[in-house]
Amino acid sequence: MIIGIDVGGTYTDAVLLKQEQVLEKIKTPTIPDDLLTSLLKALEPLLKAAKNNQIDRIVFSTTLITNLIATGNIDPVALVLIPGPGLNPNTYNFNIPDTFILSGAIDYRGREIEPLKEKEIKECLEAVRARGIKRVAIVGKFSQRNKNHEEAVASYFKQHAPEIQTVMGHQVSGRLNFPRRVVTSLLTLATQNRFQEFYSQIQKVLAQRGITAPIYILKADGGTLPFAQAFLKPVETIFSGPAASTLGVLALTPSGQTSVVLDIGGTTTDLALILSGKPLLASRGARINNHLTHVRAFATKSVALGGDSVVQVGPDSSLEILPQRAGAAYCLGGPQPTPTDAMRVAGLITIGDEKRAREAMNKLGSKLKLPAEQTAALIIELMVKRIAREINEMFLAWEEEPAYRIWELLQKQKIRPQNVVGIGASAPAILPLLGKEMGCRALVPPYAEVANAIGAALAKVTLRLTFHFDTERNFYFIEETGVQEKLGVKGQLSLADAEEMAFKWLRQEGEKLGIPPGEEPELVYSEMFNMVRGWTTTGRLYDICVQFPPGILEDWLERREQNA
């Protein structure tokens, strides 16, 4: 049996699954500022329903980190940067008053082009101490290609001030983009202790209930991570909500198709894309609190349009849906007319007081000289058209993403969805109309109201490793783990050898995370560059990425196919 719990901003959803069946589902309001209680409130009934059967795994998706960062409730961190030549480091706006800049530089091949100055490190540590700083993120440009400078600074700190907690940029992310690495390192260090506290609490309450099942946490890229490991990079668990609902849709709809996932809530409609059965990841890392990071996340779009959005008659005597919510829908006792009232009048939903809904429509309709029914129909049409436009723009944005290779540029053809899949309260009312508008199939899957919990429950453990081999300099590094090692191969390493090495690493690391040995990894890309100096080839660069991709547990999919 599997338990999935998604602690969202408004609701906490939870499911208990046994094979392909949903044994129990819970939806309960999230208690603000008390995630643990919210979680337990959802968990208790599930444990009861599970009776004494064995729980194989529990997966959480939480807004813990999102909330901590949004409320600024994180630990203060100082920055020690080794930027080297390039952009003036003051151009970056990290908003960290305690920023120290050190001499020293590494180039794009990982060669030291300017040494560190020990005197500066010493002075930096003195200043850090004088200001009473307890946490320091040490980040250098191109540190992913040579970690020596970061390590030298970190070990100096460790030796002379062991009480100071440090994190090094190359451990956090090896992707190119120094400012994003700085922000991601900052957030990692600023949330680590809080995350650890949360983890200990959960362990305690589960232990009290005699549960020994492995606990996983969902990441923004739709993969799960053993809870204990998430401590290293807690920031990766941010925005797991949209990932949970997308995976839920993946679990509940036919496989291999291209779908738009819509979560139509009260205030917003959240969109995500599934292309040929694969959730689309954002090409660059997530934006957190207006800072760009290296956190891999699903490509999602949040549109300020929901069932509770305020509807009014604009200055040019036409209806407009405002991007804000004033409270509940009028038919549910709220202050202003909303799309929900329109749906009620149109007979698309049955919640709320019909008389009040009609009253709301008449209020608007009188200004337009239209009866309530027609006003309602206009509002619904407006909403459907707007969502359809946002969906098209999302596909367009995907098509317009820069491409750096000929094949990449040529292959991005116009793709449009086969399905629109809706979850959330207003989905059943809106989806059929949206499907008609967009000329594709509209689906509201069973258990749509807890799809995110199902997504969390069934999410696979994922692992992605991106290798960069430099045969001339005889070294390689792995972006995600911070590993930088000598190649130690006699003669020239071939591309096939390099790929084999990458898969071997992936299997090894996968095993540590509990990925079953039978799981098939995939090659995301593999590129070779001849390094020619003068007119002879002096070495090769290989960029290889391998992964266990995000997805739904195979068992579930197989059984679902069988049942269908």
Binding site: G86, L87, F178, P179, P402, A403, L410, N530
Partner: protein, 451 residues
């Protein structure tokens, strides 16, 4: 006013002339590393665009390709040229204040007639962009400043008879470097005298020398000419580490040049010091165009004391600048004195060598000397290919400024030759006033309109 600098980055990581050729996959790899690691694409001052494919018509607006366009271009060429068009549109739509197309393959050695690849170029990205801008947005006067170390002979050829395109190229003296042209006497055709300016610099010229040329000659001339747009043909091989040339320009020098020149659009050309120069030079140019501080950009081995201009070189450069300033000042009267030729046509013969493809070309060019417009051009060209084959073409080019008489006459010559094409393999008509481009295949006796 738009605030952003537009970038199209198309490094064509899957395209090369040959695996060890300087124009290969690896060329912009370290530039990518540097730009991406700096986080350039995330800066609020920068807006990145995706390249698109140029159409055959975009190419036919500039070139006569032999035997046909598809034989001269790969998808990479179409994307590199198309990348410049994306920025042209963004600029004209006021989405960006300026733009830099970091694309390959390059283009400035590609002339109007294309028998093959010259100096790593098949089609001329700048010219394709400029003709697109003129057609689509009605831009008339444009200045091109070619800062590649090699003479931009292709661009010069395309605009040699166009009085509305000012072409300025500074480069290492042609007596010491490919393509062996770009001397001070190359000043434009009879109806465009002075609209071509060449500044051949001695090998070893440093930032100081180039900035002297910029401040004393290039900027004042641009000020006089008053172009609607300035295009930088941004080669980076004046850099002191370039393996194919011998100049002493630095990343700081290139950045400051762009800060002063303020090009509306820049298009990458050559530059083959792919590790020691390109990552730094490109970062410098992007920052300068975006109005950001570029003073922290420097090469790892840069030492100020190694870049002092020897006084005798400075004397030479100053004399050169004085000489060209005089010509620029008196260009109208000099142009009249040098009427070149009495009669209806000015004619010139020349031979052109295609270093990459080992093709020799003989060209006979006729320019109609019209009293009211810049006249049309007729080109007879024979390409002599390795292994002894040849192809001969006749091409008529009607510029967009042509008067109705000249247009009529030129179309007549084209019609005449397709009726009587002896000795020719292909006949072309580039009718810019109508934006229509024809190619007649003699052997197949068929005419196509290029779309």
């Amino acid at each position: 006013m738009p605030e952003k600098t537009g970038l199209v980055f198309f490094p064509a990581f899957d395209w090369a002339i040959s695996p060890t050729h300087p124009e290969r996959e690896e060329r912009l790899l370290y530039t990518k590393d540097q730009l991406f690691e700096e986080g350039i694409m995330d800066l609020p001052e920068i807006c990145e665009y995706k390249a698109r494919l140029a159409t055959f018509k975009d190419i036919a607006r500039v070139h006569f390709c032999v035997p046909e366009i598809r034989a001269q271009v790969t998808e990479a060429h179409l994307i590199a040229a198309g990348g410049t068009l994306v920025l042209a549109d963004a600029l004209m739509n006021k989405e960006i204040k300026n733009g830099f197309a970091l694309v390959r393959p390059p283009g400035h050695h590609a002339m109007r007639v294309v028998h093959g690849n010259r100096g790593f170029c098949n089609i001329n990205n700048e010219a394709i962009m400029i003709e697109y801008l003129r057609k689509k947005y009605g831009i008339r006067k444009i200045a091109i400043v070619d800062t590649d170390v090699h003479h931009g002979d292709g661009t010069q050829d395309i605009y040699y008879h166009d009085p509305d395109v000012l072409f300025i190229s500074f480069h290492q003296d042609g007596r010491t470097l490919y393509p062996g042209s770009g001397f001070t006497h190359e000043l434009g055709g009879p109806r465009a005298f002075g609209a071509t300016i060449n500044i051949p610099l001695p090998p070893g010229t440093t930032d100081e020398g180039i900035h002297y040329v910029l401040e004393e000659l290039v900027l004042p001339v641009l000020d006089d000419f008053q172009p609607e747009l300035i295009v930088n043909s941004a080669g980076q091989d004046n850099h002191y580490t370039d393996p194919l040339a011998n100049m002493r320009f630095t990343a700081q020098g290139y950045a400051r040049l762009n800060a002063r020149l303020k090009p509306d659009l820049a298009v990458l050309e050559g530059g083959y010091a792919i590790e020691s120069a390109l990552p730094y030079v490109n970062t410098g140019i992007v920052l300068a165009m975006a109005g950001l501080d570029y003073s922290y950009v420097r090469e790892p081995d840069y030492r100020k004391e190694n870049f002092i201009q020897p006084p005798e070189k400075m004397v030479y450069i100053k004399e050169l600048v004085e000489y060209l300033k005089e010509i620029w000042k008196n260009r109208t009267s000099l142009g009249q004195q040098k009427q070149f030729h009495e009669g209806d046509f000015y004619e010139q013969k020349r031979s052109i060598y295609y270093d990459t493809d080992h093709i020799r070309e003989q060209q006979w060019e006729q320019i109609r000397l019209c009293k009211t417009c810049p006249g049309y051009q007729m080109i007879t060209s024979r390409g002599m290919y390795p292994y002894g084959t040849t192809r001969t073409i006749f091409a008529v080019a009607i510029p967009w400024q042509a008067c109705l008489n000249c247009q009529e006459e030129a179309r007549g010559y084209y019609q005449e030759r397709i009726k009587n094409p002896q000795g020719l393999d292909f006949v072309y008509l580039q009718d810019k006033p109508h934006d229509i481009y024809y190619q007649f295949f003699v052997e197949k006796d068929c005419e196509i309109q290029i779309e």
